[in-house]
Amino acid sequence: MAVSRLFGATVKRREDPRLITGKGTYTDDFKLPGMLHMAILRSPYAHARITHLDTSKAKQVPGVHAVLTGQDLEGKVNGIPTAWLIPASDLKTPTYKALATDHVRFTGDGVAAVVAETPAIAHDALDLIDINYEPLPVVTETEKALAPGAPQLHDDAPNNQAFHWTFSNGDPDGAFNGAEVVVRHRFVQQRLIPNAMEPRGAVAQWQSGADELTLYNTTQNPHIVRFLASVTNNIPENKIRVFARDVGGGFGSKIPFYPGDALTIFASQVTGRPVKWIEDRRENFLATIHGRDQITDVELAAKRDGTMTGLRVKAYSNMGAYLSTAAPGVPTWLFALIVPGCYTIQNYSCDVLGAFTNTTPTDAYRGAGRPEAAFLIERMADLLAGELQMDPVDVRRKNFVPADAFPYTSAGTLTYDSGNYQGTLDKALEMADYNGFRQQQQQMRQQGRYQGVGLSTYVEVCGLAPSPAAGAMGFQGGLWEPGTVRMLATGKAVVLTGTNPHGQGEETTFAQLVGDMLGIPAEDVDVVHGDTAAIPMGWGTYGSRSTAVGGTAIYKATQKVIEKAKKVAAHLLEASPDDMVFDSGTFHVQGSPDKKKTIQEVALMANLAWNMPEGVEPGLEESSFHDPTNFTYPFGAHICTVEVDPDTGEVKILRYVAVDDVGVVINPMIVDGQVHGGVAQGIGQALYEHAIYDEAGQLITGSMMDYAVPNATHIPTIETARTETPCPHNLTGVKGVGETGTIASSQAVVNAVVDVLSPLGIKHIDMPLTPERVWQAIQAAKSSGSGSGSGNANQPGQPGQ
């Protein structure tokens, strides 16, 4: 391996120049000859019967080529599949039609589509579709949907129950019998809207002679789209090419296969022309998946010394109107197994009810279940500390899995691969000057300034996943990855990956990895992703898996390339392969540094194949198919300090310290960027973002005017640092960083705000902690007089100070 290492170096992202100068190639940038444009008519009602549908006027508009309804799809386009069939849960998967035929179930459910010469004609024609609805009673909230007498969404899902999933380990009930302390709380994980900068879209090109489909799609997983398009649109999988060049963010919302995708394909088949569909932002709010939306009732049993002994969770998850592609796995497996977090709780149970409601379907949103889990356990740790009058730091120290206990099997039956939870916490406490802050906090209070500090010590589970584990969980796919490394005659390398980075920077990271191993400049390594015709297979980018799983496959393929090159080099140098030394891109004979061949020279000769060793095939290309043996377990400690304006309830973040251990780091700048983005999204959930439906099922935060995605002015400087505990079960030691920031951050902010307000007796405020919610909590606490503070002068919320 090279001495001056690309691996571990801060290298600027090669993706950025094209993306920030407007030269990216997104789905909307594909313009094919003869291409038509599709627009989708969406239900304005959350729940209704379609009583009348007449498209004749729309069909007569000049420039309109087709108007499609649900009837047109019958027998030709199947329902949108659910691809995570969680076992032993009485899972119901009602048909999710690409266009509703008689019954719409959420505001935004598709009812018709127009295909026309221009987008403007298509949108104008939508207005001419004559459709009548008979509104039905609406239910948008999980518990109400599960209650007797609730409006029913699907005939084949009685009581709107999508599934009932349970997990238990140890003796949870025993732990609560006679527990010294029990802390109980209900938490609401509000619904969020992913809001990728590039909305969803597709360009479908059906070639009727060859019966082949090319689908340009904004997706995190082109091969999964190929498979799902195949089963939905009845096209053989080997006749589909899915192409995704630049994808403008996903955050989970571009994992699923959507009705719009299936419709675009069908529209191309019907019209015989390429068809483009690009959703607008309003449509993105309504028709692309939402995230979170879970209520949890939590009980934590503990000893008086702070030792956590038992944990029981009852969760209610809002699945929306239909089950999106991966939806059932999110609030179950991805949530429940990691709930015990960094702690040695032995007895744990989790009971999850999923419900259908008249809302947009939910699915994986950055972190997918794990932010909910980390929030829950970290809030409970603080509530326990409050109950026992302990410092939140001490409660955590008391319960951490010790550094010498790894690999450690948790109460969630996961085997945490490696960790040093105390190490990241100590580093974060030092960076944040926790003790100094605690002293200063008292002085500030005397001056009428209300500051607080919040901790989040988290472990998450990513690097998805061993394929047998995926199968056992009912995921209808594998989670291995292929990697191919090909050296061309000119000494340049091409890397093929089945992951599909869309902001994570692996075009750079993988070039560093391979360049480092081959001893060639990173600039000489091109990384190809997002093309099912070029790349043999792949499961995509999500679950912080690309570098840990896809990168390991590439690592192994590169090793094979070096092994083969060594044979060729030895042959050319008339030496034994066993005597070859490979260093900094050059093979030489042991003890004779002058007898050498560069890898580029070897690549040329291997590609020409004029003089190959006996039994060695031409070319210099190798592939590996890597299936991990375990998940990976990044961890860390985040500390947030805040100040609350007691008169207005406004929260200002003073400092945000993130100490993460994501295993070995290939590019520190990219890792920092992932932490920044993740923390920004977590702060967004903590303070700003909330998808709100009214009683009629209208999304009242359905635009950027109402739904507060944080911008730069909302986000503090994020102070990052790391410890490095390698992943022991892959070759690079990488764990993953795509989701840690989101998983770690919301509770750090909420814990800090509650720390400010705890002298008033305030124990919790549900997210988002908007100024009004904080102000209302202060008002309620003042009027109930439950403050435990040392005196009124120290309490916030005195107006007019």
Partner: protein
């Protein structure tokens, strides 16, 4: 986000504008900086048959000093107001207010007349306009017509303008007399950047250090910008210390037809009016003493 079809007219003179308005009738819509109308067109919340763009009418642009007034042409973009030395020196409340409008892009395109005529209940400029006692000049087929800001804003997106009138300029009184200070404080909606509550305050400090007179404009909380007249009266003659100001501002929300939404209830808006009025008055008083 595709507007319905509309005809586009780009007159170059005020006379042309009036002719186009007459031709379009109720189906016409004036386009100023486009910061509100363009999104409404894209969402098909507005579907005018004719859009009359005022952007090419040069006579509607510019800032001039007329005695004790600053007269700003309706099509003057915010950024020109911010950059005007006359405005900075003689009417700092406009700078304090407009610098908090939207973002640099909005301030580059958005116009003074557009904001005033659109009368968004959460717009920033109307608070300053009512506090400063601005006079809105409009032109119609029968000539010019002036409106006091106090009577101009009537309801949500509703003004006293006649349908066939176009705002041509807005005149703001200078506040550069010695002992006068101003401030604009705003609780900014985290998504839209609009004022959940915005308070524009003008405080005249007497020789005794007490409040000689105060004018307070409120935006965001109700259907239209209004003055906090009872608080203004309560402040007159009172010391400008925290306690007195707090007492005077306790009634600041009186008379506001409070609105509530998913972000801020009407109770919270009333509370913000009180808190921000206190703070704005104290800050204006501090600025007066500088």
């Amino acid at each position: 986000m595709y507007p319905s079809n509309f005809a586009y007219a780009a007159p170059t003179s005020l006379a042309d504008v009036l002719a186009q308005m007459q031709a379009a009738g109720d189906d016409g819509k004036l386009l100023a900086g486009g910061q509100s109308l363009i999104p409404m067109l894209k969402l098909r919340l507005a579907e005018p048959k004719t859009v009359i763009d005022l952007g090419k009418v040069q006579s509607l642009r510019g800032i001039r000093v007329d005695g004790n007034s600053i007269v700003i042409g309706a099509m003057t973009p915010y950024v020109d107001v911010l950059d005007s030395a006359d405005v900075q020196r003689r009417c700092p409340l406009l700078v304090q207010t407009i610098s908090q409008v939207g973002d640099p892009q909005v301030r580059s395109r958005g116009t003074v007349g557009g904001s005033i005529a659109h009368a968004d209940p959460a717009g920033d400029l109307p608070a300053a306009a009512v506090a400063l006692g601005a006079v809105v000049t409009a032109t119609g087929p029968s000539g010019n017509h002036t409106y006091d800001a106090a009577n101009f804003f009537q309801d949500v997106l509703t003004t006293a303008l006649e349908p066939n009138e176009v705002v041509t300029s807005v005149s703001f009184s200078a506040t550069d007399a010695p002992g006068t200070g101003t401030a604009y404080l705003k609780h900014r909606h985290p998504a839209s950047g609009y004022a959940v509550v915005g308070i524009a305050a003008i405080v005249m400090v007497g020789a005794d250090g007490n409040c000689q007179a105060a004018r307070i404009g409120i935006t965001g909380a109700g259907s239209h910008a209004t003055r906090a007249t009872s608080t203004e009266q309560a402040l007159a003659g009172k010391p400008l210390d925290a306690q007195s100001v707090a007492a005077a501002c306790a009634n600041a929300a009186d008379g506001v037809d409070l609105m509530g939404d998913s972000y801020a209830s009407s109770d919270y808006r009333a509370h913000l009016i009180r808190v921000l009025s206190q703070r704005a008055v104290l800050q204006a008083a501090q600025n007066a003493r500088r």
